[in-house]
Subunit: 105 residues, 2 copies
Amino acid sequence: MAAETPTMAFAPAHPGAILREDILPNIGMTVTELAAHLGVSRQALSGLLNERRSVSLEMAQKLGQAFQNGTRFWLALQMQHDIWWAERGEAPRVAPIEWHEDDAA
Amino acid sequence: MAAETPTMAFAPAHPGAILREDILPNIGMTVTELAAHLGVSRQALSGLLNERRSVSLEMAQKLGQAFQNGTRFWLALQMQHDIWWAERGEAPRVAPIEWHEDDAA
DNA sequence: TCGCGTGTAACGTTACGCGTGACAGGTTTT
DNA sequence: AAAACCTGTCACGCGTAACGTTACACGCGA
């Protein structure tokens, strides 16, 4: 797999993209209805769908319950996305610290 | 594996705990020195070590560079920790939405 | 035309990571 | 004993970000 590869060709999908492209078309609900169902504002869901907001812990919980794929699925998706972009910008550049793993159990 | 198990016996270690117990004792640096090395305030590092703050994206980048284990290591640790606690509190409780995966490629 | 779904901007609230300044207790060094 | 250092923690202000509410605009189908 390529998860640990330093440079990926393109950014991992934003959670909102997954929701918009893979899920929304298959549940027969409008954005307004889904928002109400999740217990969030229509704007909050819209912002996520259009990738203007990140998936928060609370949002991840709600999505995970609604679609039965758990909190971790959505949060990991967001993390993946964040890391990719973080590695593009100017990294803080910290000098490595040489150290040895502790062999004690 | 037990990662997806609904209920784990105890909480995954806080990132600060890993840093405090596994790393700090093996690098021969004081908290003050490490903070300076990372380019963060002593208070910020102290808060993390004592598990009063979470690992931010920026902090994860710095730790990952310093200890050569990457941003993802620290961020995933924090995520694991957050999820565990989120599942303990009162979940938002959202009704499941039945849906079918899209079979189209 | 009217109603509905959607995107978006503006405003205030809340939460949190962070830096700086400051104080206290403990340990080491002189 | 006194000075120097390490560490934890509190207070303050700042910047950022998610969220709800209100409001406006556009598109589409009835």
